[in-house]
Symmetry: C2
Subunit: 380 residues, 2 copies
């Protein structure tokens, strides 16, 4: 997953962060040094009297290279200790304050084993999700129940039809929370019953994944309701509740169900190329490190603006070496259509979940689900 | 706080979101309509058969105005019900998916009383924080203990000196988590003792505010440790753990201590003007709605790039009408110096906390703290 593997000596046990700095390259050494200070001690370097702090706590500028007239590639390494081996503080160090520096893009990060071993990582990953579904030779089929405003019973009927039609992963639309139209407990109970009924009747193994974008004091109880109702997974929105909530839910549910990360609110990190973080980190490394088993994002050419390059780098980061972390599944959606199923499957290869939402509702949901399945079995 | 108050009829009890859309204005009506759909039902409008969904659940385009060759101001209203009266879902509706649309900026939002009354808001606010400190006639003095790598005892000595020197709010640097140099429990215990000792000795009422950027399963216990240790407030990083964590902590601590929001990781929302959200929302409305009593951000002319206009709009949003919500205090930092204290106090007026970090360590911390205080008492 790293873009400059030749520069990295992971035996140091340090974290290597690869930044692209846009703007004048004139004082780039000074700016790089300032960045290393900003993300660690945030303190005038000349006032540091403790040599341990100066040498080991402050980030180290490992490499600075001009990559254009107004662009530099800067590698800064951080001691693992500055993170306290905690995900919120890792994110804080990598991009906390410099998110407020225009022109700074975090392009990639190399995490050493001494950091990674503190993280359980995905409990299922691609292989585990395939085991749950008994689906080994083809891309997975995913959909979202929608539109918001539908009754809980209406959603349950959709879940039944989708499962009956052969869809693997049936998630709540990310906008389903606890609205009066279909409150969380009622929706999840009915949808859980529906997926069980369909699986029993048709011998399918579909998973229903409710959205747990909950007020924090209700998070545990919603998850409990979901698990009791027979939810087969959880949908989490790390852009709203933080990546660490994925890790927490993975820990709390003790690996009983897979977790899918949804990209809501994460767009501002990626859409302006001069700023933020690379898509591979936002939709690959970070959710995976937190323990997501599937990472949803908009595939190129849908309603959003992600490029094919963005999408392939996300898929790479879902699959690349990351300590002992299992590979996870990119879930490509954002305006996908039945017509594009084969193309998307060819783009990612078998290890992808293809997420079609609204387009499945043009006509009979169940027939469309069957057609979706048939198209993927042909490609498998 | 709203920028188009004449367009808003709050008797409708709807949420009015003001977006600026950058890019071609040719199909702006179509694009606006697509945005209203994207943020609510995320479903092909032509397939919606239920008139309640079409009329009441889908966002409504209320106004579209060209504001330049390639820029439009679009007002979309949302039914309060789509939020389920929950903060994570409010954020999801306002900017979740459209964060992935380049060129969309959320400029402001008007929240009706029917939404706001579900939120307790800041427990202290400006007036409550002043009451705690007994400081009514001047800006507040704030600092952060740093640098990371200092021992817990070293930090406790800094806290003592700062309190003795007359600083009101002494927060952990936002990079202090649970590192081996000064683990959370030890640091907070010693710093709590130090602030009490100084307050007892000098008759001051300084508050020590530890940073609780914790793994979620440890959040409650860190807060408990902090409160037991005599912490007088909490520092929270909503860009990493979500705005809702502020609300949760305000609820959980039952208003025992004020909360300061820190801007880490929120920069990507604001630094590219064509995308993200306006600073007034990110550092004013949202933390305030969540219940923060103070909102930290970098003042113009420090190490960051915020403009004076950014800063004044943040201060306005900290103070403007927001239902029955108390006004909160902007905490202006990010490279402030003793030399700039008067200028900053003049810029914001009395109701500001001025946050000086590293610059207080040039020479004697205590003398500098005293000098900081003297400068503010002169202006008060």
């Amino acid at each position: 997953m790293n873009v400059h593997v030749d520069q990295v000596d992971s035996s140091h046990g340090r974290i290597y962060a690869h930044y692209r700095l846009h703007g004048s390259t004139e004082q780039i050494d000074l700016v790089s040094r300032a960045l290393a200070v900003e993300e660690t001690i945030e303190f005038p370097l000349e006032l540091v009297t403790d040599s341990d702090i100066a040498n080991n706590v402050v980030g180290r500028v490992e490499d600075v290279e001009s990559s254009g007239e107004s662009c530099s590639e800067v590698v800064i390494s951080y001691s693992v200790e500055v993170t306290g081996w905690e995900l919120p503080q890792l994110i804080n160090v990598l991009f906390g304050n410099c998110s407020m520096w225009p022109g700074v893009r975090l392009e990639d990060v190399d995490l050493p084993e001494s950091f990674l071993r503190h993280f359980a990582g995905p409990r299922f990953g691609t292989a585990g999700v395939r085991d749950l579904l008994g689906a080994y030779e083809r891309p997975l089929l995913a959909t979202a129940i929608k539109p918001m405003g539908t009754s809980a019973q209406g959603f349950a009927e959709m879940v039944f039809d989708c499962a009956a039609g052969g869809i693997d992963l049936i998630k709540d639309d990310h906008g389903l929370a606890n609205q009066p139209y279909a409150d969380f407990a009622d929706r999840v109970k009915r949808c859980g019953e529906a997926v069980r009924a369909a699986n029993d009747r048709y011998g399918t193994r579909a998973l229903y994944m409710p959205c747990v974008n909950a007020p924090l004091e209700q998070l545990d109880s919603r998850v409990e309701i979901a698990l009791k109702a027979g939810a087969g997974g959880l949908l989490v929105l790390p852009g709203i509740v933080g990546y660490d909530t994925i890790r927490y839910l993975s820990l709390r549910t003790e690996g009983r169900v897979p977790i899918m990360a949804h990209p809501s609110m994460l767009g501002s990190l990626v859409v302006e190329e001069r700023q933020g973080m690379a898509p591979g980190l936002v939709f690959g490394t970070l959710p995976r490190l937190a323990g997501a088993d599937l990472s949803a994002f908009p595939h190129a050419g849908g309603r959003f603006s992600f490029s094919e390059k963005d999408c392939s780098t996300i898929a790479e980061h879902c699959r690349a070496d990351l300590g002992s972390s299992a590979e996870i599944m990119p879930a490509a959606g954002g305006g996908m259509t039945l017509e594009r199923v084969r193309e998307v499957a060819e783009f990612y290869g078998n290890d992808v979940a293809i997420l079609i939402g609204g387009d499945l509702h043009r006509g009979s949901l169940r027939s469309n689900a069957e057609s979706f399945r048939a198209r993927l079995e042909e490609t498998g």
